[in-house]
């Protein structure tokens, strides 16, 4: 099933998150991730929701989201070109003598080491989902102790210059 990225602007009010998540639960829609953050207007938050489904299901999701009184705007970003970023903090084991190898990988993926101890390090990495997944798999041989991901946020690409 096709992946869809829904971007919604919501009033920053108590209960709005439960209205949105409740709608998904009540209608049996499964979501991959949901991300909420303030916009430039502190009264308005943006939700980025990633889910999979056929076009008919997604159309229903969008329509039902639009019906919620606290939801101001809903867009299916996947209908047009968009940029997507997922942020990850990953704690990778660094067996004696192999720390350098891990740091090489971090550099190749343009990540950042944000914490380090004798046994492991925490690496910050952002990018599209595929890049994040690729980094996780190359780290696996060293031992992954923790993965924390934000879930994707996304924005439509700007209009092309003619």
């Amino acid at each position: 099933m096709k992946k869809h990225v829904i971007s919604a602007l919501v009033s920053n009010q108590v209960g709005v998150l439960s209205h949105v998540s409740g709608l998904f639960a009540a209608r049996g829609y499964n979501i991959d991730s949901m991300n909420v953050g303030e916009t430039e207007d502190p009264g308005i938050s943006r939700m980025t929701i990633v889910l999979r489904g056929d076009d008919q299901i997604i159309e229903q999701v969008v329509k039902h989201l639009r019906k919620l009184i606290n939801v101001l705007q809903v867009k299916d970003l996947s209908a047009a070109p968009y940029v997507e970023r997922d942020l990850m903090l990953i704690k990778v084991a660094t067996p004696p003598g192999r720390r350098g190898e891990v740091i090489d990988l971090v550099e190749i993926f343009r990540g950042k080491v944000v914490d380090i101890s004798t046994r492991d390090m925490v690496i910050e990495l952002s990018g599209p989902e595929a890049k994040i997944e690729a980094f996780i798999s190359v780290c696996r041989p060293y031992g992954i102790k923790d993965v924390v991901r934000s879930g994707p946020i996304a924005a439509p690409r700007g209009a092309k210059d003619e």
Binding site: S11, G22, E59, R66, K67, I69, V71, L72
Partner: protein, 554 residues
């Protein structure tokens, strides 16, 4: 300075609330204290569920916003079934609940329930009021949301210390809700396309739902159907949106619809759906529903369109407005072959029942129609009583048939009748009940006795949960598990215990006299009709079957 409770009652009056249905309790005492000398009629119910249904019945009968009031915790949770009933059938009600003090919320305080959380999925919107100053604005917004677009219930939860706090009087400004802008006017181009399709259709059917009644569009429905010369079928919720004695009326479709309605829909080449939502009780086997028809769907709720069936021509907008745009664009066409076919089906497949020496429920309803001249407001419970009422009364006007269509709430009809009677004091209001359903809110006999609310209750008493029994007979090999209600009380004597006139009828020749006596009585009456326990509702479409494959053993 005013208290939050005073602001609430002022706000309710400002939005035009004339009657509210409720029961006091700990955290709403401050609100009832204001009601003590406010110029606002309040009806003391005996169960909060009934208060919600009464508000709903009031709204359906009048077209105005209904209002109910309950305390926190159990009072609020008792409203839930009533709110869900209103939500499913798009009925505008405002439910006010008390809540525990703000500093106790989330603390498992006495009689605390997270009612905004509980009702999230069954309200159009809900509010927890955090400051008394917000009450006037929230009540205005709530009324606006409830009564516009696809109508529905809105709940406002008010902590007791908000009700008692003293604040400056506030005058609310214009209602401005950026996230709520219902589409009222249909898209002009879509309306033109719809007209073209209608004018080209050979075998069209106009399928009218409750949205036509909510939009007060009955006159427009008739004008449009006559202008384009279309046969008209209505859903259960749409009964009364088109007069059932009209020559173009096919009457109700679906699981217990008329054969002619079901055959016509299944043979149509164009189905024009108006304010209807292709419920499973209407479509039967959905993949084969009206399979040769192009579908036009006019609805105020975009999420209703394309939900169950693919739609060829969607028009989002208010039923009345869209019909007003559409009617001048359609042409009258004879469609003789189609109407001849319909007449043939109608002639050969009439609704019927076999008479014997027992009281037949269909006969009771036919007699009721005669005695009331077909003018009564008919409320129903849910089950066989509801379907017999829908099939046999014959509805002439909108807001005449009041029934829980979507949620199918047993116990709805009697309290809804109380609300309808308050909304229409001069009307004859009858609750057609079953012996099962009536016991789900029978405590309201105390309410009608005390306030002399002249609702007539006609119990089709067959000693069973009749529709369950019927399904067990047809589909569960006659294994009548838990559907017999032996142990029922003597309903006439029970009524008498409440101070309500009770009449028992067990012979067909007593039916007419009993009905006449009830209608002449200036007060509530319980009519206990001991009907044939083996009577079934026919026709019936087996669940999941095509709607033109009805069983009719009548």
């Amino acid at each position: 300075m005013k208290t939050g409770a005073q602001l609430l009652i002022d706000s309710l009056q400002a939005i035009g609330i004339e009657v509210l249905f409720g029961i006091p309790g700990g955290v709403v005492i401050p609100i009832f204290d204001v009601l003590y000398d406010a110029d606002l009629k309040s009806v003391l119910m005996r169960h909060e569920q009934a208060a919600a249904h009464a508000a709903d019945g009031y709204a359906r009968a009048s077209g105005k916003l209904g209002c109910c009031l309950a305390t926190s915790g159990p009072g609020a949770t008792n409203l839930v079934t009533g709110i869900a009933t209103a939500n499913f059938d798009s009925v505008p009600i405002l439910a006010i609940t008390g809540q525990v003090r703000r500093d106790l919320i989330g603390n498992d305080a006495f009689q605390e329930a997270d009612i905004t959380g509980i009702t999230r999925g069954i309200t159009k919107h809900n509010y927890l009021v955090r400051n008394a100053e917000d009450i006037p604005r929230i009540i205005r917004e709530a009324a606006y949301v409830a009564t516009t677009g696809r109508q529905g219930p809105v709940l406002v939860d008010i902590p007791v210390d908000v009700s008692t706090s003293q604040v400056e009087d506030v005058v609310p400004g214009e209602v401005k809700i950026p996230g709520y802008q219902p589409t009222i006017e249909g898209n002009q181009r879509q309306i033109e396309r719809a007209a073209e399709a209608i004018n080209a259709a050979e075998r069209p059917v106009f399928y009218v739902g409750g949205g036509a009644i909510a939009s007060n569009a009955a006159a427009e429905v008739k004008a449009f159907a006559e202008a384009a010369h279309l046969p008209v079928t209505t859903t259960l919720m749409g009964l009364g949106a088109f007069p059932e004695d009209h020559p173009q009326a096919l009457r109700m479709l679906g699981m217990h619809g008329t054969p002619v309605a079901n055959y016509a829909v299944m043979s149509s080449d164009l189905l024009i759906a108006l304010g209807a939502r292709f419920d499973d009780r209407i479509t039967g086997k959905i993949t084969e529903f009206a399979e040769h028809a192009k579908i036009i769907h006019i609805d105020i709720d975009p999420a209703s369109i394309g939900k169950s069936v693919p739609v060829d021509l969607p028009v989002v907008g208010d039923a009345k407005q869209v019909l007003n745009e559409l009617t001048p664009l359609v042409e009258y066409r004879e469609r003789k072959e189609w109407f001849d076919q319909i007449a043939h089906w109608a002639e050969n497949h009439k609704l019927s029942y076999q008479k014997n020496d027992k009281v037949k429920p269909q006969y009771v309803i036919e007699q009721l129609r005669e005695v009331t001249n077909g003018d009564a407001i008919i409320c129903t419970e849910v089950g066989q009583n509801q379907m017999w009422a829908a099939q046999w009364y014959g509805f002439k006007r909108p807001r005449q048939f009041i029934s829980s269509g979507g949620l199918g709430t047993m116990g709805y009809g009697f309290p809804a009748a109380i609300g309808a009677q308050l909304a229409c004091p001069d009307a004859t209001v009858v609750d057609i009940a079953g012996d099962g359903s009536i016991q789900m809110n029978i405590q309201e006999l105390a309410t009608v006795a005390r306030d002399n609310i002249p609702v007539k209750i006609a119990i089709m008493n067959n000693g069973f949960l009749g529709m369950v029994r019927q399904w067990q007979e047809h589909f569960y090999n006659r294994r009548y598990s838990h559907s017999s209600l032996n142990g029922n009380p003597d309903f006439a004597r029970l009524a008498e215990a409440y101070g309500v006139l009770g009449i028992t009828v067990d012979q067909p020749d007593q039916v007419r006299d009993a009905l006449e006596k009830a209608m002449e009585t200036d007060g509530p009456v319980v009519l206990d009709f001991h009907v044939d326990p083996n009577e079934n509702v026919f026709p019936i479409v087996p669940p999941g079957e095509r709607i033109d494959r009805m069983i009719d053993l009548a």
